[in-house]
Amino acid sequence: MKLRSTERSLGDRGRVSLLQILIAASCCWVSGARQPAPIRASGTDAVTEREMMMNIFRSFCTDCHGKWKQEAGLDLRTRESMLAGGKSGPALVPGEPQKSLVYLRVNADEMPPRKNLFGDENYAYRPRADDIEKLRAWIAAGAATEPSKVAREHAAAVFPSIGDEGRDLWAFQLPRRPAEPDVHSSHQLRTPIDAFVLRRLESRDLSYSAEADRLVLMRRAYFDLIGLPPSPGEMDAYLADVQPDSYERMIQRLLDSRHYGERWGKYWLDAAGYCDTQGVGGGRDEYRKYIWRYRDYVIRSINADKPYDQFLLEQIAGDECVDYKSLESLTPDQVDKLIATGFLRTAADGTDERANNKVPNRMRVLNRQIEIFSTAVLGLTFECARCHDHKFDPITQRDYYSFAAIFRTAYDPYDWRIPNVAIFPGGISIPKLYQRSLYHRSITPSSQLEEYNAALRKTIEEHQTVLDEKTARFSKQLQRERLTTSKPTSTDDEQPLPSPQEKRQLLEAIDLPEDQRNSPLQKLWKKYAELLKVETKQLEERYEDYKKESPPLRAKISEAQEKLLEEPMVHALFDMGGEPTAVYVLKRGDPRVHGEQVSAGVPGALQQGLEPYQVIKPSGRTDTSGRRLALARWLVQPDHPLTARVMVNRIWQHHFGRALVTPDNLGSGSEPPSHPLLLDWLAKEFVRQGWKLKEMHRLIMTSGVYRQNSLPNARAFQSDPDNVLLSRFPLRRLDAETIRDSLLHVSGQLDTTPFGPADEVEVVSSGEVISHATSKGFRRSIYMMQLHAHPLTMLELFDAPAMLPNCLYRTETTVPTQALYLWNSAMVRNCSTHFSEIVLAAEPENVDRQIELIYRRALVRLPTPHERQRAQAVIADFASRWQEFSADDPTMAHRQALMTFCHAVLNSPEFIYVD
C-alpha cells in the first residue's frame, strides 16, 4: 500500500524536473562573463543536505531550545551547542544515533512535546518519518555541519546577476529631465506639463478642450484634494473673488485643509494594504488594536507635506533611526518613526493561531509584505520570482531572496513574533517576548484615545450599576426566602438555623447597608453567613428574570472591557536582534528545499548608476541590523529610477483617473507609458522640488490639461476614443468613500472629528454591514473600521477594494446593486430627510430659494431657469401627492415633498459624477 507522503513526493519529483529545466534555462539567460564566483566553491549538494539538517532543528526545536529560550539548558542551534548539551548531558554523539538524545527523544515521539509553545495535540508540528530517518543518518555519518558563514552584506559585489539586456527596460534606466517639446498652440501652455501633453495631442491633430466653468473646476478641485464638495458659503466666496489668482488661492486653501490628508492618505493606505483586521479568512478576522496609529501617522504626514523621501524612510526603517531601547523618553517625532513602520505590518498574518504558525505560514506573511512593498514603492511585482526567475522582468529568484533577507531580521520564520492579538481560546497568555507590538512607556495617551476609553468606561460603569442593582435586589429576595422557609428543625449541628427571633432581626438587617448594622446584628449575620451567602449561579437557578437579564449585561461589560486600549503599544516592525538566521534561495518557493545562501541586497538590474545598497549597523542599545535603513537610503537617492516615477505616476493617476503607466507594474509586462517623457519630467521635477506632494498637485492642477472641460467632441472621440491623450478632462465617478462622505456632508451629518481608534461597524441580520453615528453624526469613511471579512456594504458596493494584499488601482463597476442602494437604503433615505430639514431651516418660506440651496449644496451650481421652473412644479406635485398621506397638514406635505425631491437629487448621476 502506498501512502501519501511517498506518493506526494514522487509527484513533486515529477514537477521538479520540469521546473529544473525552466530554472536551468533561465540560468543560461543570466549567465555570462559577469557571473559572480559562487559563495561556496564545491560540494553544493552535500552542503545543502547539511543545511537542510539544521533546518529540521530550526523548524521543530529552536523555539524552545534556541536563541531566546534554552529549556533544560539546551541550545540546538549549532553542532557545538548540541555537543555541549544541557541538563541531561550532550544532545549529540556524532556517529552514534542511539546515544544521541536529540535522535532518541524525537524518535520516541517525546520531542517536540505535544503541548509545545504554539501547538497542542491536534496540531503538533511533528517531524515526518523521513525527517527522523535523515536525522539518524546524519548523526550516523558524523553530524557534519557547515562552519557558520557571515554573509557579506554588500550585495552589489555579490550579485551583478543581470546581463545588459535586463537593463534595456525603460523603467530601470535613470530618469533624465527631458527638454520641453515645442508645440503649435503655445497659447495653451500654462505649465511645462502642457508642452508634453499637447505635443502628443498635436501628433494626432488634436488639442485641448475649452477651459471648464469656474464652478466645475471648483467642484473638481474639492473632490480631488479633500474628497468633499464645497459648501454654499465657499462657493459664494469663490464666485465673489474676481482676482486673477483666485483659482490658485483656492487650490492653496484646499492643500492647507486638514481634510486633504484624509483624501490622499487613503490612496497611500490602499497601496500599503491598510486594514483594521488581520484578514486571514474563514471565521477569523481579528482586530489589529493599534494599527490606527499608523493610519493617523499617514494622514498627519501628508497634511504636513512631509517630503516623500523622508516619509518612505520612516516607514521602511523608522525604528532603525531611533535608539528607542536606550532612550528614557521619546519625542513625538521619534514615536512617529516607530509608528511609521506599521507600513510593513499590513500583510495578513494569522500566525497567532496554532495551526497557522508553522514555518511556511510565517514565510507567507513576509512574502505578502514583500508583494505589497514591491508594488507600492517600486511599481514592480516580485512575487513570481519567489518560485522562479521572473519571466518578463530582470528579477532573478536570487534577487527575490536577497531582497527578502532585508526584512528577515524582523520577519524571521525561525525567530517569530505573533501579531498582537491574543486569541488563544484556552486562555494561554502569550509572553511579551513572542508578541509583535512595540511598547514604550514614553508614548503618552492621545486625547482621542482618552475619549475612546472614557466612553467605554462609562458604558462599563452604567451596565455594572444596573447589574449590581439587580443582583442586590434578587439576593435580598433570596435571603428573605431562605429565612422565611427555613425550619429550625434541622439536625445538622454545623448549620444551625435561626430562631424566630433571630429571623426577624435578620430580615430587618437585609435592608440595612452593612455599615449601618450594629455589632450584635453583624455578629448574628456572621453566624448565619453560610445560610445568607448568595451566589450568582443560585440567583440564576432561582429567578427566571435574573437568568434572562444578567448575562447580556455581563456580556456587554466584558465586551467593552476587551475594547479598552492600552495606550503605549505600537503596531510596529522591528528587528529581532541577535545573530540573524541565514537566508537561502528556496527552490520552487518551498521552505523545505534550500538552495544557495544569499545576503541582503537589492535586485542586480537596479544598481547601475546608483549608490550601492550598503548596510551599516546602527550603534546603540537597540540591536538592529540596519538592513532596512540601507534599503530606505538606497531608494531615496535622487536618481533612483523607480521611487520618484512610481510616486508621480500615482499622483497623476488620482487626478486624472488613469495613470501614465500601470501603477503596479512598470516592468516589461505592462503597456508602455502613455506619456513617457512627461513621466520622467515629473519624476525629476518631484525630486527637484524636494519630494513635496503639494508642489506636484499645484503644478498639475494649474496646468491647462487639468483645467479643460470634460465634454467629448466627435473628432477626438474618433482618433482617441479612450481619451488616453487627454483632449478633455475625463468624466469620473466619485469613489466609494467620497460618495459616502458627500452624502453625509450635504445632509449635515458628517462628524469631522479626525483620528483615533476606528469607528465600529456592525453586521446586521440581513448581512448588511453598516456604520453607526457618533453624537455628532457619522465620521468620514477613512475612520470607519475596515474589516477584511466584512467591509462596509455601502463602500463595497461602490468598489472599495479588498486588500489583496493591497490595491494600486480600483476596478470601477456600474451595477444595479448600486442603484438599489441609493434608492432604497435607509442611509440615503435618512440623508434625504436631513438634507431637506437643513434646507427648510435655512429657507423656511421661499420655495425657489429652497430649490436653489438644494442645487448649491448637492450639485455645486445654480439651477437653470428651466430647472427652477420644473422643480417648483415637481415639488408642488409631490406635495399634492403626499397630501392624502399627511393628515391634511400642508406644511407636512411640503416637508415630505422637499425630502422626496432631495432624495431624487442625491440619486441623480450628477451627484456622483465629477466633470
Binding site: 501512502l3 479568512g281 522582468d393 467632441n713 456594504t793 470601477e812 451595477v815 438599489l820 403626499w882
Partner: protein, 498 residues
C-alpha cells in the same frame, strides 16, 4: 416601458421553451422604473440592453465592461451552460456513502503501521472502523451506494463518480479554500467567479452567480466561498437569501406612497437623461442609466425566481419540502433549478448550519450524524436531479456534489476524523457520462491509489464541461497570469465525460 415576458424571451432564445413553462404573475407594485408611463428611461435602453450586451467575445478575451457581464462564447462546444455546486461542508465520509470497503470488516480495530507514520491526526485516531451502512448496487450501471442515500441511489445511472480525489490539507478552512478557489489560502477568486469572468451572464435581470446558504447562519468560510478575489468585483457571487428579501436593498424599509414613488422615478429619470444628454452620450452614463433599469428588473426577477409557491405540490414533494428535516435544503435546491432556468450561470448550495457550521464533520458518531446529514439532503439532491432531467435541463446543467475532503477509515470514538488523501465526489448532467466510476482508493479507502484526481483536475473538468479551457482562462494580476488551476499542470478527467 414595462417588463415584457416576450421581450425577455427574445433576449434569451435558448431559454424560450423553458420560459413558457413558467407561470407568470402580473407585475408587482414595486417594479421601480418598470411601469413609468412616459418611458423616460426606457427609450434609450431598449436597444442598449438587447443588442449591445451580446458581444460574443471568446472567453479568453474576456473583458468585464462597465455594463457588466456580457455573455461570451466558450472555447469549445460546451456540454453544459450552467453549474449547480452542491457543497458538502465538513467532509462527507467516502467509505460510508460511495466507496465500499469490505476489508474494513476483516481488519476491524487494526492500525496498520503505515498509518502511524502518515496519518496527520493519528494522535486521536483509533483502529480501522467498518461502515455501519449497507451497500447495494443500483441502476443499470450497478453503482454501489450505501443505504444512507436511498434517493440518490435511484439516480445512479446519471452520475459519474470520482473515487480517487485527494487534496492538500486536512484543515477545513484550507481545504475549503482549495476546493472553491484552487488555492489553500483565503481571498482567491472562487470557481464560480472564474466561470462568470469567462462566460458572462445569460440573464440581465439576475446576478450571474448565486450562492444559496442557510439563511440564518453562515457556513464555514462564509462569503469567502463565493468571492471574486482579484477578479473584477462584478464576478463575485451574490448571496440570495432563501427567506425574506433575497437581495439587500431590494425594497425600502418604508416605501413612499405609490403616487409619490411614481413621480420620484420620473424625476430621477429626467435628471439622469438630462445629465447624460448634456455630456454627449458618454458610454459610462448610458451604463449608469442601464443600471437603474436593471435594478428595477431585478426587483421583480429575483423575487419571482425565488418564489417557489408557484411550483406544484408534486414538485414540492419531489424535493422533500414535505419533510421538516429536508425542507430547508430542498427549498434551496428547488430555487436553484428556478435560477438555472432563468439563465443564472452558477448556483452554489450549502447545507444547513444545524447543528454546526461544518455539518458533514462527523467526528462523534458516524452512524447517527451521517444519517442525519443524509436525511437533510438526500431526497432534495435526488429530487433536483430528477426534476432537471424531466424538464430536459439536466443535459445543459452540470451538477457537482462533494466536500472539501473525505474522512479516515479509522475510528475516532464512533466517528471519523478528516481524511484528505482519498475521497469521493460526483458529477452529473451536461457533458458527463452517467453511471461511470473513475479511480480507486486502497483496500481500506484511505488513500487514492488509482487514477488520482487533484482538486485542480476537478476544476479543469468542470470548466471543460462548460466549454472553457482552463489553460486559456487567465487573468493578469500583479504581473502574474493567474488561472483557477494554478501553476501545476491540471488534467481534464475525460474518462467521465460523454
Amino acid at each position: 416601458m414595462s417588463i415584457n415576458p416576450d421581450q425577455e424571451r427574445k433576449d434569451n432564445p435558448r431559454r424560450e421553451l423553458l420560459q413558457r413553462q413558467t407561470v407568470r404573475t402580473g407585475l408587482g407594485r414595486r417594479d421601480f422604473f418598470g411601469h413609468m408611463g412616459n418611458g423616460l428611461l426606457g427609450t434609450a435602453l431598449a436597444g442598449l440592453l438587447t443588442d449591445d450586451l451580446i458581444s460574443g467575445r471568446p472567453a479568453d478575451a474576456a473583458v468585464v465592461s462597465h455594463q457588466g457581464l456580457q455573455p461570451r462564447l466558450p472555447h469549445v462546444e460546451p456540454g453544459a451552460t450552467s453549474v449547480i455546486q452542491l457543497f458538502m461542508t465538513g467532509g462527507p465520509s467516502q467509505v460510508d456513502l460511495f466507496d465500499p470497503k469490505p476489508a474494513l470488516v476483516k481488519h476491524e480495530g487494526e492500525l496498520p503501521r503505515a498509518f502511524l507514520d502518515n496519518v496527520e491526526s493519528v494522535g486521536r485516531a483509533g483502529g480501522l472502523l467498518p461502515s455501519p451502512f449497507k451497500f447495494t448496487r443500483h441502476g443499470q450501471s450497478g453503482m454501489p451506494m450505501s443505504d444512507a442515500i436511498p434517493h440518490l441511489a435511484q439516480c445512479a445511472d446519471d452520475i459519474a463518480l470520482i473515487r480517487s480525489m485527494w487534496t492538500d490539507s486536512f484543515d477545513h478552512l484550507a481545504a475549503i479554500f482549495l476546493m472553491h478557489s484552487g488555492r489553500t489560502r483565503n481571498l482567491s477568486p472562487s470557481l464560480g467567479s472564474w466561470v462568470v469572468y469567462g462566460l458572462g451572464s445569460d440573464n440581465k435581470n439576475l446576478p450571474a452567480y448565486v450562492a444559496l446558504d442557510d439563511p440564518h447562519r453562515q457556513i464555514l468560510a462564509g462569503k469567502s466561498n463565493w468571492q471574486a478575489g482579484f477578479l473584477p468585483p462584478i464576478c463575485q457571487g451574490t448571496r440570495l437569501r432563501s427567506v425574506g428579501a433575497p437581495i439587500l436593498h431590494l425594497n425600502a424599509e418604508k416605501e413612499f406612497p405609490d403616487p409619490v414613488l411614481e413621480l420620484s422615478r420620473d424625476l430621477l429619470a429626467t435628471l439622469a437623461r438630462e445629465h447624460r444628454d448634456a455630456r454627449g452620450g458618454q458610454a459610462e452614463l448610458n451604463a449608469r442609466i442601464a443600471s437603474y433599469e436593471l435594478a428595477a428588473r431585478m426587483q421583480i426577477s429575483a423575487t419571482q425566481a425565488l418564489d417557489i409557491s408557484q411550483e406544484t405540490q408534486q414538485t414540492h414533494d419531489l424535493y422533500g419540502l414535505n419533510d421538516k428535516v429536508s425542507a430547508s435544503y430542498g427549498r434551496r435546491c428547488l430555487m436553484a433549478r428556478r435560477l438555472i432556468e432563468r439563465g443564472v450561470r452558477i448556483v452554489q448550495i450549502y447545507m444547513n448550519c444545524d447543528p454546526s457550521d461544518n455539518p458533514w464533520d462527523h467526528h462523534g458518531n458516524i452512524k447517527k450524524e451521517l444519517s442525519h446529514s443524509c436525511r437533510q439532503t438526500d431526497k432534495s439532491v435526488a429530487g433536483l436531479l430528477k426534476d432537471l432531467k424531466q424538464r430536459g435541463l439536466l443535459e445543459q446543467t452540470l451538477v457537482v456534489w462533494g466536500g472539501e475532503f473525505g474522512r479516515l477509515p479509522l475510528s475516532q470514538g464512533k466517528g471519523r476524523d478528516h481524511g484528505a488523501n482519498g475521497f469521493s465526489v460526483w458529477l452529473a448532467g451536461g457533458g458527463v457520462q452517467g453511471g461511470t466510476i473513475y479511480g480507486a482508493t486502497d483496500e481500506f479507502g484511505y488513500h487514492a491509489v488509482e487514477n488520482r484526481a487533484s482538486v485542480h483536475d476537478l476544476h479543469a473538468t468542470i470548466l471543460h464541461c462548460l466549454g472553457v479551457d482552463h489553460e486559456k482562462l487567465v487573468y493578469k494580476h500583479h504581473g502574474l497570469e493567474e488561472q483557477l488551476t494554478g501553476v501545476d499542470p491540471a488534467r481534464v478527467v475525460k474518462e467521465i465525460l460523454s
